[in-house]
């Protein structure tokens, strides 16, 4: 059972932290798929020194594209469930089982991690909290689904969701695209409280305001010509 669950970790130039993230990830006993999205800082070599599947994009495409590649790989290897996990050390491997449990019990197709539910992260920087609140409502406007969190990279999908979800948004708007597909295909979903570690590293790698404008622009385009 353990090896038919795949943890998909997209990475792009994460050399300072990837070893620690992978060290913890392999201890879960699940299959690990690292999708290296065209790193140029030696991340690839570090990944290859771990007992994980390493897929390398020839050019940098974006996090959405990397997740899709990982999911295709998991599908080819008859995965029963897939977990999306960030490489920058902001997610805890202890949360992976919490995310999987509703899926393994057959309760729903998709599980979203939420830092705002009871039992989730306590300390969230003020500016971050406010922009996430805004993002929740942007997601709701576009998809009709109002979650308690937005752009939380920690999620779990069962086999059915894996078959239905085809991400075409290569960059960061994939988080909203997933909600879109969940609604369109009638997938069932739930939220589970998770902990996000706010390190100086992950804050630096995080989303800028300019990026959120890009995301909204991409979503508008997708809405118009899909």
């Amino acid at each position: 059972m353990h090896s038919s669950v795949f943890i998909v970790i997209p990475v792009y130039n994460e050399a300072p932290v990837i070893a620690q993230t992978l060290h913890q990830a392999v201890q879960t006993g699940y299959s690990i798929v690292v999708v290296d999205d065209g790193s140029t800082d030696g991340t690839t070599d570090i990944v290859r020194s771990f007992p994980v599947h390493c897929i390398v994009h020839p050019v940098n495409l974006g996090q959405g594209a990397a997740l899709q590649t990982g999911m295709e790989f998991a599908k080819l290897h008859r995965a029963q469930a897939v977990v999306h996990f960030d490489a920058d050390g902001q997610h805890r491997t202890a949360d992976v089982d919490k995310l999987l449990s509703p899926i393994l019990q057959g309760k729903c197709d998709v599980v979203f991690g939420s830092r705002f539910l009871q039992g989730g992260t306590g300390k969230i920087p003020r500016a971050k909290r406010m922009s996430l609140q805004l993002a929740r409502y942007v997601n709701w406007m576009f998809t009709g689904i109002l979650l308690s969190d937005a752009h939380n990279g920690l999620r779990a999908l069962n086999r059915r969701a894996l078959e239905e979800i085809q991400l075409s948004e290569s960059r960061m708007s994939h988080a909203t695209e997933i909600l879109w597909i969940v609604r369109d295909k009638g997938l069932s979903y739930t939220e589970v409280p998770v902990t996000i570690e706010y390190t100086a590293y992950s804050m630096h790698k995080g989303q800028s305001l300019w990026n959120s404008i890009n995301i909204i622009f991409d979503l508008l385009f997708k809405k118009i010509n899909r």
């Binding site: 897929i55 050019v59 295709e72 790989f73 075409s168 290569s170």
Partner: protein
């Protein structure tokens, strides 16, 4: 004929010639480009015509009318180009994904 008119006509003709020379495209596209450029030359030769058209549409000068139309056309063009870039990015992603998955597959069969 004023010097400005001459320069503009030469420029428009140069665009027409290079389009026909370098871009192989459908007959309809060529026809459309030819008609637009012909209209451009026509307006350069008879500037009073755009002035009168502008007056009937409630715009001060013919040049202003051309400028406004240009802005609208330009914005439309940018949107079209962005849509095209998005399409290309999706195709690039599919191509790169196929390549990456193929590489990892041949690696694992090579090992065993």
């Amino acid at each position: 004929m004023k010097l400005t008119q001459l320069i503009l006509i030469v420029g428009l003709l140069a665009i027409l010639v290079s389009y026909f020379r370098w871009f192989r495209s459908a007959v309809m596209d060529k026809l459309l480009v030819a008609v637009i450029l012909a209209a451009g030359i026509f307006m350069v030769v008879f500037p009073d015509l755009t002035n009168r058209l502008a007056a009937t549409l409630g715009v001060g000068r013919g040049a202003d009318l051309v400028f406004y139309l240009f802005i609208v056309g330009f914005c439309y063009l940018i949107l079209m180009l962005y849509a095209k870039i998005r399409k290309l990015e999706q195709q690039l992603a599919e191509l790169a994904r196929k390549q990456a998955l193929h590489d990892v597959q041949t690696q694992s069969t090579g090992k065993s």
